[in-house]
């Protein structure tokens, strides 16, 4: 039933020939394909011909310097370390050069510009900054000095979604703090509200008819220039939502956990051809094929539990394998913890400050590690429509990194530096949050003396 496929052979990429009805989506799919190809194409270039990448980067630089000498150019170089450009492969022994918050060159022998800030990341791992998606209230995203922001940065987060807006955790910097609105239209389509379902379905149906009317009008107009255009003043509320969804302007974000809730949704998405993101999707593994066919993406919480209902005469309840099975079906999977914000009350790290831990639980359920890393970097970036700026380490993208002292998904790993927009937003040794734990990477060295109350000295 479950065919394990590599991410390169996802069905969504070959969906162009699937049905003529999907023409609207094919554009997007080709765009995605192109992007993925670009990623795939860039990686070998970076790893195999780093000198070329370097040359390109420098060339671009020289041009700008010639045009106008800007003394304020901000350079940051991250030297050494293990580079994880997009989760699935690693590059060793190369450096990353960032200029004014963008990555301008990746390669092994980069010239360090004068005045550049240099991070020696030897023995560390370099990941794209993590993206926390659909966080209901990370209140701190607009308070640039808040403790919550520090906690988020200490977890490797660089981008969060807060109340329909995407923010960078740009500690202490207003510039580049707000990235823009999410493309989501939150809709409700639950079994608990049959009237609401009927209403939404009706809206889609009427919009679909309206589209046909428009087509008819176009034909009519060619024959008779005086043809009357169909009235569009009624397109408001639900109709407006339906129209924007069918035009591909927005993505439907729906909370659905059981098969009973997911199937009607995927049917609706296929019938009216709109993009769908299912949040929760605890039983998604039971209808992964439906989700894949509808081109839906899922936001899952691997540690969320849905108890088995023994009165239902079919398989039900949550499964640790959920993320793995969805991924194997080619459904883009984004991982998010059960608590949206950052709260010290998130028991066992079930808040956004422990995003890698949540992804690690998906790995425990069988998801490949690379996919788990993508589920908190590349996939959420793509889902919020910012894949061109964040989510991978590539020349031209934003300089957002999480630099850890070990494998990102390992429970022992701590973030050493977090870089946002080419600025060091978090430095473990300088911030008092975790600097007493393995100071300077040395497990045996004593914690700082003045650290109260987090470490209590030898007398304790």
């Amino acid at each position: 039933m479950i065919g394990v496929r590599t991410p390169q052979s996802r069905p969504e990429q070959s969906s162009v020939e699937e049905s003529p009805r999907k023409m609207g989506k094919s554009k997007n799919t080709t765009a995605r394909l192109a992007l993925l190809l670009a990623v795939v194409a860039v990686l070998p270039v970076v790893s195999a011909f780093p000198a070329r990448a370097f040359a390109q980067g420098e060339k671009a630089d020289d041009k700008k310097v010639d045009e106008e000498k800007e003394p304020e150019d901000r350079y940051l170089v991250i030297r050494g370390g293990v580079l994880h450009p997009s989760g699935d492969e690693t590059v060793e022994g190369s450096s990353v050069l960032c200029k004014n918050g963008k990555i301008v060159a990746i390669g092994p022998h980069l010239d360090v510009p004068e005045g550049a800030e240099v991070i020696d990341a030897d023995g560390h791992h370099l990941y794209p900054g993590l993206v926390g998606i659909e966080t209901r209230s990370i209140v701190s995203s607009t308070d640039l000095f808040s403790l919550n922001m520090s906690l988020g940065l200490a977890a490797g987060l660089t981008t969060v979604v807060s109340g329909g807006t995407v923010y960078k955790l740009s500690y202490g910097e207003l510039e580049g703090n707000r990235l823009g609105r999410t493309p989501f239209a939150v809709i409700r389509y639950t079994t608990r509200d049959p009237a609401g379902r009927r209403r939404l379905r009706g809206a889609f149906e009427r919009m679909w008819k309206h589209q046909r009317d428009l087509e008819a009008y176009e034909i009519e107009k060619a024959k008779d220039p005086k043809a009357k255009k169909p009235d569009e003043r009624w397109i408001r509320g639900d109709f407006q939502t339906a129209k924007r969804l069918m035009d591909g302007d927005t993505v439907a974000l729906v909370r659905a956990n059981t098969v009973q809730e997911i199937r009607p949704l995927t049917d609706l998405a296929r019938k009216y051809d709109f993009k769908l993101v299912v949040q929760g999707a605890a039983e998604g593994y039971l209808c992964a094929g439906d989700l894949a066919r509808a081109g839906a993406s899922c936001i899952v919480t691997p540690r969320a539990r849905l108890d088995v209902d023994s009165t239902v005469l079919r398989a039900n309840g949550s499964s640790p394998e959920n993320a793995k099975i969805l991924h194997a079906h080619g459904v883009p999977v984004v991982v998010t913890p059960s608590r949206g914000g950052i709260s010290l009350m998130g028991l066992g790290g079930r808040d956004l400050a422990h995003l890698p831990m949540e992804a690690a639980f998906a790995v425990r359920g069988g998801l490949e590690e690379s996919a788990a890393i993508q589920s908190i970097t590349t996939e959420p970036a793509r889902m919020i429509g910012l894949a061109h700026r964040i989510g991978t380490i590539e020349v031209g993208k934003d300089a957002d990194f999480a630099i850890t002292d070990g494998d990102l998904l390992h429970y022992m790993s701590l973030v050493r530096w977090t870089i946002v927009n080419g600025r060091i937003a978090y430095d473990k040794e300088k911030d008092s949050l975790y600097n007493h734990i393995r100071p300077n990477g040395d497990a045996d060295s004593p914690p700082p003396d003045d650290h109260w109350p987090r470490s209590l000295g030898e007398d304790w």
Partner: protein
Amino acid sequence: MGFPRVSLTLLTVITILLGARPSAVAADPPAMVVIEAGRVITATGQEYSPGTVVIEDGEIVLVGTRLEYPASAEVIEARDLTVMPGLTHSQTRLDLAPYRRAGSKAGAQVAHEIYPSEIDFDRLVEHGFLYAAFSPAGTGIPGRAAVYRTAGADGPTLVNDSAYVRVVVGTGSGRRDLERALKGAEAAIAARTKAKEEWDKKQAEAKKKAEEAKKKAAASKESDKSKGAPDGPPSPPAEFVPPKIDPNLQPFVDRLDGKEQDFIFELTNATGYLNLEAVLEEFEEFDGPLFLNQGFRGADYEHVLDRLAVTKPLTVVVPGLSRRSHTINLYSPALDFHTAGCSVAFRPNGDSTTALRDYLSLVGNVAREGLGRDAAFAAVTVEAAKILGLDDTIGTIEKGKRADLIFLDGDPLVSGTKVKRAMIGGTVVWEAKK
């Protein structure tokens, strides 16, 4: 026989009341009043002990030690008291109804929601506050403050009904409100300029037409004098009526026009300052004192201290200690700002009796911690008066300033010192109960 008895009692009460406050009914204060005080604190960095203040027509003319003055002058004996300028409360809500506004409401005036009879001005006077700005409550741009003189021969007086506009900027929508107001004001000015240009153009055209008509008329008159139909007198040009401006934008338009309009910017945290700086980058005309609120979890202004050290605004803080954000460390915010080179003004922490009573002794603590006496006195008088736009007339004891003074029974910066008398315009208008 109730009626006559009541009226008799009333009469007696009135007589007693008037008798108890002789200065309140004094028709004309004597031309020259001299205060012989144990100590005079001028708030300009000088203290005279003993000190003499010479007042003429309600204005200070001379201050020093053992001065000579004409024998006809009225002498106020205060050799056991300390005299200093009256205090200024730059943000009070004393006894006001809790109306809160949100969004851009710069047109609203606190003066319109005050009923002076409901306000216990004596509570301010007895703690030395002779001027108080009643500030609008709420978030965003909740309105304009009203400045009252809290005491006087005729009771409390409204000094300015449209004092500073309060602007609250934090991490929320305050920035957006301010941005919109500024952009709106700019647009309003642009619209007005355009309307004026169009009007000018029309006027010129009308003039031209009138002249042409005149010429024609003259020509036709010459051609057939027999008909002789004279033109009526030319209609007077219509006056230019500028387009209406949203009252909520009016203060911003006034400031952009270069008119006098004060603003204060109240911040909730360091990010608020960054937001404010980002908005005001394009509007250099806009400046004003920064009210730096400490917030529930302590303040984090240390993050923007280096920026404040460059712009050096007037910072308005509550005296006393605050917690460094996310720590248990206490520090004095006023000292931080003072060290950064900003001038500091104090304000009481609210309107509770405790806050008003302990105000000066808390300021004393900050003075002893490193602010210094002179800066501390300036911070409670003349710097605070700047916020109300009154620093030209009050706030120090020097030539030309109003004689709005308070008399205290000891060092003002020591806990337990009480205000004994209050003087407005050279007349003692309030005395502490024995």
